[in-house]
């Protein structure tokens, strides 16, 4: 089945927030933001801006009727700065005017006098100064202290990954419309309607029932509209609450890039020990997460880093420690993989370094140490592993020996171009690691004409969740999918939702839909049994027919639904699903946090141009653990998209903050994401189809985040190609691998002296 939205997407008929017809009298907001990363606000001058034609009112923290607080996990993030600014881009005032242009023009007339305070941008510096968001955490297995003695080989090193801008093409936005009795209906482009509702209610000081958050769809999210969508909802709600007028705010791209947090940059240390047979005996890793100025989701992301410290490998002795470090960058946030990819990169760097020292191919160590069913993760859960199955299938299906030979032959016969090959096995846990969030609800109505409407807490952001939910309803009722419609995601219909995140949205909401439909089916069967005067056990609903002992009857779906209604039987159901089996004890750092794991193996081949330092990815060949895909079209799209986003993170996507905490890569002309020419020439995806029972909806394993990590293979393939040209290259582990890093690794340069900068040239490169 194709994505149910695809027709409307291609004709431009799909509605996004900025497409909603305006309510008469709508006002437009724009934020005045801190131009510096850290400082004390001495004076804020709003007078001239307030006089600008069209300006209705300018809001500051003084206008907040509830609490000036939008922090989700930890209350450490004011909506509007009071006395201090903590990052460049922090909102200080919110201008509301009759037009968007007037609001923005007025913002330019606001001035603030800010006394600078010391700025930290480096997480290791923050850690050294005790600037931590939460206390550090350590996951441990076995006895790593003693294990080092058993190791024949030990390597140590560090590995850094930069952040990543989400670059959803639809920028952040919100639109609040007053309703009677002080209520507000708020349209938002959020992955987390309840979090937005809660944040706005807290800021206004009103009960949550006074606010409805409604989400039609997102023009991309990737984690960037999880907690980061709350500020705009709260700002528009605040203004609409005071003015009793509709207020809308759609961020410009520059504002969005300056004001919002991104994937966390990490700086990490590793120590890896192997025995003489290349079994990994011990692993120690320390992660310095650059959290930015406030917690946002950083503690949860840090936790997932620890969960994925050992990647796809079984290591008997592990000690993994993580620090969430407070710096003066915008609060960093969720992004596909949620701290997992950062951990995975460190693990793979450690293996690559060990392989280099031993003079062997990294894949020898990788393959040897893949986890097996029954192996224990450092957090206590036992693996149900497909890692060997994926690896072996990839090796044989893609004829790795031949690929390797091709690479060797190419490198032997080319001087100015070199190829590199790398394996990337993945293992990703599915569930919110915060156990309480693993719950969902669905509301299913069967109308008496036989049509069906489904509401859940799932937010459609391109991942195809609505299509999968529709499939669940149609299959459970055994009716034509055209009878089913999905509703927008509204906190009025479904309360207390978990965000659409953690790859678990289809599982959680799908199971809830399934339960709701099953309950209705049960009642319909009872009605059918009465109508046909047969035992209920003999009744079956199949392909819109009512069967008795497998034989068709005069009853069909429509007639049955009508009969049930006339008998005053409920045709609606609100069902609740909570993932069984999952639990985790933070005191012991042990438990069973994941419903299941997703596995896979990717083989990446990349070619570098050794004159210019540029490169192409020739192929990414994958065997992926789908379980049993309920929608191969959608799942393939998730994998291809995840791979390319992962490659972007590892190659061209480079966030540049200067030492004053200002983002220099703040536009699409300075921050580059993959275009159609930079993607791998070939992406091959083969399913590892398994029939094992699992907790996924219809046994179709979650597919949102895991493929992102296949992209890490590109980093190591490029690294291998560099080594093929210059075996003595001192290249370390520092992603992304930009063309600059490649060229400097091919031709290491002596350090140069003082750098001259003339400011004019900087402004030219659109860094404003």
């Amino acid at each position: 089945m194709k994505n149910i939205d695809s027709g409307n997407h291609t004709t431009g008929k799909s509605l996004y927030l900025d497409d909603i017809p305006l309510v008469a009298g709508t006002l437009f907001g724009a934020a005045f933001i801190s131009p510096v990363a850290h400082g004390h606000i001495e004076r804020l001058d709003l007078a001239e801006a307030a006089q600008h034609p069209g300006v209705v009112r300018i809001f500051t923290h003084r206008d907040i009727t509830g609490e000036n607080q939008i922090g989700g996990i930890i209350p450490d993030e004011p909506l509007l700065a009071e006395h201090e600014v903590d990052f460049c881009g922090m909102p200080i005032a919110f201008v509301v005017a009759e037009t968007d242009e007037a609001a923005r023009a007025a913002v330019r007339k606001i001035t603030a006098e800010i006394t600078p305070l010391p700025i930290i941008t480096d997480p290791r510096v923050a850690q050294a100064q005790g600037e931590l968001i939460v206390p550090p955490r350590t996951f441990q297995l076995g006895d790593p202290e003693r294990a080092w003695d058993q190791c024949a080989y030990v390597v140590e090193g560090s590995a850094d990954t930069n952040g990543q801008e989400h670059l959803y093409i639809e920028t952040q936005c919100a639109y609040a419309i007053p309703e009677e009795n002080e209520g507000l209906k708020i349209y938002s482009s959020t992955q987390s309607p309840t979090a937005s509702q809660r944040a706005a209610a807290r800021v206004l000081g009103v009960p949550m029932h006074q606010l409805e958050v409604d989400v039609i769809r997102l023009g991309g999210g990737f984690g960037g509209k999880e907690d980061q969508a709350n500020a705009w909802v709260a700002l528009c709600a605040l203004a609409a609450h005071h003015l009793r007028k509709p207020v809308k705010y759609v961020l410009h791209r520059l504002e969005d890039m300056q004001m919002t947090g991104k994937r966390h940059p990490y700086s990490s240390d590793f120590k890896l020990g192997l025995d003489k047979d290349l079994n990994i005996i011990a692993y120690e890793s320390t992660y310095y997460q650059n959290a930015g100025a406030a917690a946002d989701l950083s503690p949860a992301i840090m936790e997932r880093t620890l969960f994925h410290a050992t990647g796809t490998y079984f290591i008997p002795n592990v000690k993994a420690t993580a620090f969430s470090c407070r710096t003066h960058l915008p609060p960093n946030t969720a992004f596909r993989g949620f701290g997992g990819p950062q951990a995975k990169f460190v693990m793979e760097a450690a293996i690559a370094k060990a392989a280099e020292q031993l003079g062997i191919d990294a894949c020898v160590i990788q393959k040897q140490n893949l986890n097996k069913t029954g192996d224990e993760f450092p957090y206590g859960q036992k693996a149900v592993s497909e890692s060997h199955a994926c690896w072996h299938k990839a090796e044989t299906l893609y004829d790795v020996e031949a690929l390797r030979q091709q690479v060797q032959d190419f490198n032997a016969s080319n001087t100015v171009r070199k190829k590199g090959l790398a394996f990337m096995p993945i293992c990703f846990g599915i569930s919110f690691t915060n156990t309480s969030m693993n719950q969902a609800r669905a509301l299913v109505h069967v109308y008496y004409d036989g049509s069906v409407k489904v509401s859940t807490g799932a937010v459609e952001m391109g991942q195809g969740v609505n299509t999968k939910l529709l499939q669940v309803a149609a299959q459970t009722f055994s009716i034509n999918p055209s009878r089913v419609r999905l509703q927008t995601t509204s906190t009025n219909r479904i309360a207390n939702t978990s965000p659409s995140a953690a790859s678990a949205t289809a599982d959680l909401n799908g199971k809830a839909v399934q339960l709701a439909c099953q309950a209705i089916v049960q009642r319909l069967k009872e009605v059918a049994a009465q109508e046909l005067q047969v035992p209920e056990a003999a009744v079956e609903l199949r392909d819109e027919k009512v069967l008795v002992h497998g034989e068709e009857t005069a009853l069909d779906w429509k007639k049955l639904v009508t009969a049930a209604f006339l008998k005053r039987i409920s045709l609606s159901e609100h069902a609740h699903y909570a993932t069984p089996e999952v639990h985790f004890n933070k005191a012991t750092e042990k438990g069973h946090p994941f419903a299941y794991h997703v596995y896979g193996t990717a083989i990446t081949i990349a070619t570098i141009d050794c004159i210019r330092g540029t490169y192409t990815v020739d192929a990414v060949k994958v065997v992926h653990d789908f379980g049993r895909s309920m929608n191969p079209n959608i799942d393939r799209g998730q994998i291809e998209g995840g791979i390319v986003q992962g490659i972007g993170w590892m190659t061209m996507e480079e966030l540049l903050y200067d030492h004053t905490g200002r983002l220099r890569s703040n536009t699409l002309s300075t921050y580059k994401v993959p275009d159609i020419y930079s993607v791998p020439k070939e992406i091959a995806i083969e399913a590892l189809q398994t029939d094992n029972d699992n907790l996924a909806i219809f046994r179709s394993k979650a597919v949102g985040e895991p493929p992102f990590m296949y992209g890490i293979g590109t980093y190591f393939a490029l690294r291998n190609a560099i080594k093929a040209f210059n075996p003595d290259s001192p290249i370390g582990f520092n992603a992304p691998m930009t063309p600059e890093k490649v060229l400097l690794a091919l031709y290491p340069q002596p350090a140069t002296g003082v750098k001259v900068t003339h400011a004019q040239s900087v402004s030219h490169v659109a860094v404003s």
Binding site: H252, M461, R612, G637, G641, I676, P739, Q760, H764
Partner: protein, 470 residues
């Protein structure tokens, strides 16, 4: 009053001609299929098609509507996604659906429009050309492979076109709505009633070519100031040959340059270089002269034409004068030009059989990106001897640079690996790169050195890369 055909309706508006087309489409006409992604021409979510009559042929080109002033669509046919919708899905849309080439959908109308633009162009119907048409569209969800597959299907739709005029063919085949067949006549009728863009007063007027940089750098001012639109001025069109010289009109676009018969005859290798310049819609809008006047230290075309030793004809409307491009830059964004002057034309000598040209550019992303360093090289040789050399480089100083010393050094010398290495070292003394978002100073110095070597390895394949790259 600006008049044009929007989809199948003639429209007129009294909005300031500096207003961007995107805002007009979305907020005046409520056609919300055209999306806002970046407002700087870098994502393609706002792509529309603009059709005009050119040498009695109906010509459509894709534009990013975020950088298009209304003044630049006067008398033309503007097509949004709503204007290509048919009963049910059109075959382009169907191809996107069939290949699951849409996920969040926000970028999708832009892709569909670019593909429609491909169907309306006379490019050969290959998958490669269909993909080239969407080189200005960014998708963050799909990873593009499904879009590549859809592009192949779209190319197949045109297989039987043969010589039919594209607009006629797509209307006949119901690839696009039937009204496309009548647009040619309607544009002629419109031309009879619509006045060309008026000449604003000479004082405090912002001259606008394609607007692709002006609307990025000073979007707000552009809407409000009195603009003088140059793109459609008839005396600034065309790329012609005069003896051994090529003359490029001041309003010729980068696409015009790529498609010019003169350039293709004398410079068959030029077209691939231009693929490294921005994206299809930006090339459709941006003018060669605009690239010069923009004075970016890394303007790709500027770097090319510095090596080609182009001469500019500047005109203030009354008198005109000539100035070599190499003398045009006096400092960062400082031009040897009075505010009243515009570039009327650009001239350069067409290469003879002994002259070779090469352009190199490295950026973080190969396509649709601004160079970290770019360089062009024009060499005339007799046997092994370099009889004339001119080398230019961008991104290595406050202005686009002609490397005079390096060029002089090469002239009269015999080609060898040592010569190139010495030239690369000499070039280091001419440049003053800085560290910025496009790379560190160390990198830019190394990169220029490598690009100079790349020029020679490309033009003289007998040189040994091992020796050269040591």
């Amino acid at each position: 009053m600006i008049k044009f055909i929007l989809n199948d309706r003639e429209v007129s508006t009294a909005l300031p001609p500096g207003t961007v087309l995107l805002d007009y489409i979305r907020y005046e006409k409520n056609l919300t299929g055209t999306k806002i992604g970046c407002r700087e021409g870098d994502c393609g979510a706002c792509t529309v098609l603009v059709g005009d009559s050119c040498h009695d042929r109906l010509r459509y080109r894709s534009f990013t509507s975020c950088l298009t002033p209304l003044g630049n669509v006067q008398g033309k046919h503007v097509v949004t996604v709503e204007g290509i919708n048919t009963e049910g899905l059109n075959p382009i849309q169907q191809a996107m659906v069939d290949e699951s080439a849409t996920q969040c959908g926000f970028c999708t109308p832009g892709f569909v429009m670019s593909l429609a633009g491909f169907c309306l162009s006379d490019k050969l119907p290959t998958q490669q050309n269909a993909i080239a048409a969407i080189d200005g569209n960014i998708c963050r969800c799909t990873g593009y492979k499904s879009i590549e597959r859809a592009a192949a299907r779209v190319a197949q739709l045109l297989e039987d076109r043969n010589g039919t005029e594209p607009a006629e063919f797509v209307a006949q085949q119901q690839i696009l709505p039937r009204y496309f067949a009548s647009i040619k006549e309607r544009l002629h009728a419109l031309a009879a009633t619509a006045s060309p863009n008026g000449h604003a007063s000479a004082q405090e007027v912002q001259r606008v070519g394609g607007g692709t940089d002006l609307y990025v750098q000073k979007h707000t001012e552009m809407v409000e100031t009195a603009n003088h639109f140059l793109l459609d001025k008839s005396d600034l069109q065309g790329i012609t040959r005069e003896g051994n010289r090529c003359v490029i009109g001041g309003a010729a676009t980068v696409t015009d340059l790529a498609e010019s018969a003169v350039m293709q005859e004398f410079f068959p290798e030029f077209r691939p270089y231009l693929r490294l310049v921005s994206s299809t819609p930006i090339r459709n809008m941006a003018t060669v002269a605009g690239n010069f006047v923009n004075a970016s230290p890394i303007g790709d075309l500027t770097i090319m034409f510095l090596a080609l030793d182009a001469t500019l004809t500047l005109s203030d409307g009354h008198t005109s004068r000539e100035i070599p491009l190499r003398q045009f830059y006096q400092g960062y964004k400082l031009l040897a030009k009075t505010p009243d002057e515009t570039i009327a034309s650009i001239r350069f000598a067409l290469p003879d059989e002994r002259t070779q040209f090469n352009f190199e550019k490295v950026s973080k992303r190969t396509h649709l990106d601004i160079a970290s360093v770019n360089s062009a090289c024009c060499l005339s040789t007799r046997g092994d001897l370099i009889t004339a050399a001119s080398v230019s480089a961008g991104g290595v100083g406050p202005t686009p640079m002609f490397l005079a010393k390096t060029s002089a050094f090469l002239t009269g010398k015999a080609i060898s690996e040592e010569l190139v290495q010495e030239a690369a070292e000499l070039a280091q003394t001419e440049i003053s790169p800085i560290s910025d978002a496009r790379g560190t100073e160390t990198y830019k110095r190394l990169l220029l050195s490598q690009l100079l070597k790349a020029h020679f390895l490309t033009l003289f394949p007998h040189l040994s890369p091992q020796e050269l790259l040591q």
